[in-house]
């Protein structure tokens, strides 16, 4: 597009560079020309096809220009929505989908620029209406999957998935997301973002399913499943921090809850699960698999001492104390920390012995 020709009726507004040399910024002539005309159409709030095309040019120069993205959406909404009285029914969805593709292309395979994600979100809010919204959501989840295929820890991408699933809030999407996180964990068990997504999908999914009873925690049955899932993940690679954190998270959530709710039926069940996990982890510690280097595994040991302390009887506390002694040696980077933990466990031991 030859900008001056297309906008021959418009006076470009140039950036007024004052006398201050500290602020002088040089751009290419093409950049300057496009932005001079953009300032003019912005000022006139001209929501036309040519203004829309101009935003395309400017965004290709600078995809982080949020003023330009915002104006592009203004243009798009005006152009998609007929001005007659029953505008509501006839949003040009194809055009919105085309713009999603534009944002996709501009972002490339690893979009980290927030504006691109925000643009998608604003467009999808228009598209998440009516019966086809689940389909639209699934298509968008497919797009995010493509991005995560390139960078499986892209923070914006995972947040975008969460936003889609929360916004649609359908049981099928919640359960599919648990499966999705599982597939990403299988591909890379050390992908902490995928473990976080599993927590999100199991927890918020359960809250969404029982909208009447927001306990803010998993049911005991679900917690048992998730604890076993984490133990399996830890068995695959005990040096992986993620399943251990997940396991502690699941178990502590249950423990805290039964502590708060006096006489809760689940108390014995939770204690049983806790002891069961401790037994399994001890087994792992005593007979490591051949796939991994022999010798101590700090992630495993630190999870084990946490759980032993939570069990809290004399034998468990003794075991925790001994293991902390080993950690002082085996985890030299955090030696001081383990010394501290030793002194706290001694206090606990003193209390149970009284």
């Amino acid at each position: 597009m030859n900008i001056p020709d297309v906008f021959s009726d418009i006076d470009p507004i140039s950036q007024s560079d004052g006398p201050e040399p500290a602020c002088a910024i040089t751009y290419t002539p093409e950049f300057v020309e496009a932005h001079d005309y953009l300032r003019a159409v912005l000022k006139a709030d001209e929501r036309s096809e040519r203004a829309f095309a101009l935003t395309t040019i400017c965004l290709k120069f600078n995809p982080a220009n949020y003023t330009c993205w915002h104006f592009r959406r203004r243009c798009l909404v005006s152009l998609c929505t007929p001005t007659d009285s029953d505008a509501r029914a006839t949003v040009d969805v194809e055009r919105i989908d085309t713009d999603l593709e534009f944002a996709d292309k501009l972002g490339g395979t690893n979009p980290k620029n927030y504006q691109l994600w925000y643009h998608r979100r604003a467009l999808l809010e228009i598209r998440f209406k009516g019966d086809e919204r689940i389909q639209v959501a699934q298509k968008e989840l497919g797009y995010v999957d493509k991005i995560l295929g390139d960078d499986n820890k892209n923070y914006h991408a995972w947040s975008h998935r969460q936003w889609i699933i929360r916004t649609i809030n359908q049981p099928q999407l919640w359960s599919a997301e648990i499966e999705y996180s599982h597939s990403k964990i299988l591909l890379d068990p050390r992908n902490n973002s995928a473990w976080n997504q599993r927590w999100f999908a199991t927890h918020e999914g359960e809250i969404a399913a029982n909208s009447g009873m927001k306990l803010g925690k998993l049911s005991f049955e679900k917690a048992e499943e998730e604890a076993n899932y984490a133990v399996c993940g830890a068995q695959v690679d005990p040096f992986n921090e993620s399943p251990w954190r997940y396991l502690i998270g699941v178990l502590m959530e249950q423990c805290r809850w039964v502590q708060r709710e006096e006489g809760a039926d689940d108390k014995d069940k939770v204690n049983g699960l806790l002891r069961d996990c401790v037994a399994k982890i001890k087994d792992m510690n005593d007979s490591p698999t051949e796939d991994y280097p022999a010798g101590p595994c700090v992630s495993l040991m630190s999870a084990l001492v946490d759980l032993l302390e939570t069990v809290g009887d004399k034998t468990s506390l003794e075991e925790a104390k001994n293991m902390m002694g080993e950690l002082v040696v085996e985890d030299p980077v955090r030696r001081k920390y383990w010394h501290k933990r030793q002194s706290t466990v001694l206090v606990l031991l003193g209390k149970v012995s009284e």
Partner: protein, 402 residues
Amino acid sequence: MTSETAAPVGPFYDALHANYIVTLGDKLDSPTSYEGAVTEHLRVSGVYWSLAALALLRTEGEVDDLMGLTKPIQAATDGTDENKIRSAIVDWVFQCYDARVGGFGGNCSGENPHDAHLLYTLSALQVLAISNSLDDERLDKDAIANYVSSLQNEDGSFSGDEWGEIDTRFTYIAFSCLALLGKLPLPDWNNSNSTQVVSEEKPIIDTYKAVKYIMSCRNFDGGFGCVPGAESHAGQVFTCVGALSIAQSLHLLEDADLLSWWLAERQCDSGGLNGRPEKQADVCYSWWILSALSILGRVDWINTGKLGQFILNCQDDEDGGIADRPMDMPDVYHTFFGLCGLSLIGQLEKIGNKEGQNYRQIDPVFALPTDVVSRLGLKAQVIRNGGVDVEKRLQLHSILDI
């Protein structure tokens, strides 16, 4: 056996770093330079990082002379203009102020400020704080406070600008801005669980709701994310813990041990810290993690000696500056956060500058030199862990025993 807190081995390039920061100011002025191009839209933040970094190495007067903080200075030139004078940084900062909205842009073009953003508003106020100019008559404190207030959402969260990105970072920034302006209403946890009402007027922001929002971003691993449900990230941990500290609300952090352990596990074998599990160590996390651990009273949970060594290994021994990791190109952002890291583990003092004087110290809550924080009378909150003495630098804050 080496001690965890031993001073690191190897030189600290005080003069090179100071020179790197001072000459960077001129490179930033030159849009054709790499540094000028990448930082153009966030110049105000770049200026803050430079000034704050230099402030840790030099006295207030020296910083002013070297950088032209409150008075114009002769700019180093590329040979085209011998007598190029650079206007005072404080004057330039005021040119970045957008009076229509009450916030600062990241830069200005001539007389015109770029679009205002919360990020740049804090950087601008931090620059003014360092240069002792918060009482400058050009600073419209009420307008800025109203701008910050306008960015609070119904759920208590803050957006960074009028286009709406939400992030726990912005809550920290909002609190910090209002604290610097002396306008942050504190929640009254003893009473009605609501933001303290000082007068009949409605408080400028709902701090209580904002704090509740922060807590809704807490995760199962003890850390915090950008928004509820988002993965824990060390940068977000700092902003959330920092926000709770400024709002005197650290008592809400049940299980500070779980969070601190998550932070301690960020230390890699190299001694450096990473931001999330399985990510590479990076100097800037020395700041995000150490500042949080300082506020939580648990810096000694990591091996500070090894961390100091890692930071020193990231110095550029020819041109000065600190990079994100050894052998990389230095930049001002990592230079500032690397110096902060050395300061927070007490090693900058041990190294001592060439005159044998102590370096100025960084405050882990406000990311400003402690002398500036105390001059402004800012009071956040820190945790005393298990009766261990609170570091001297933190004693200007109120102390929470848990």
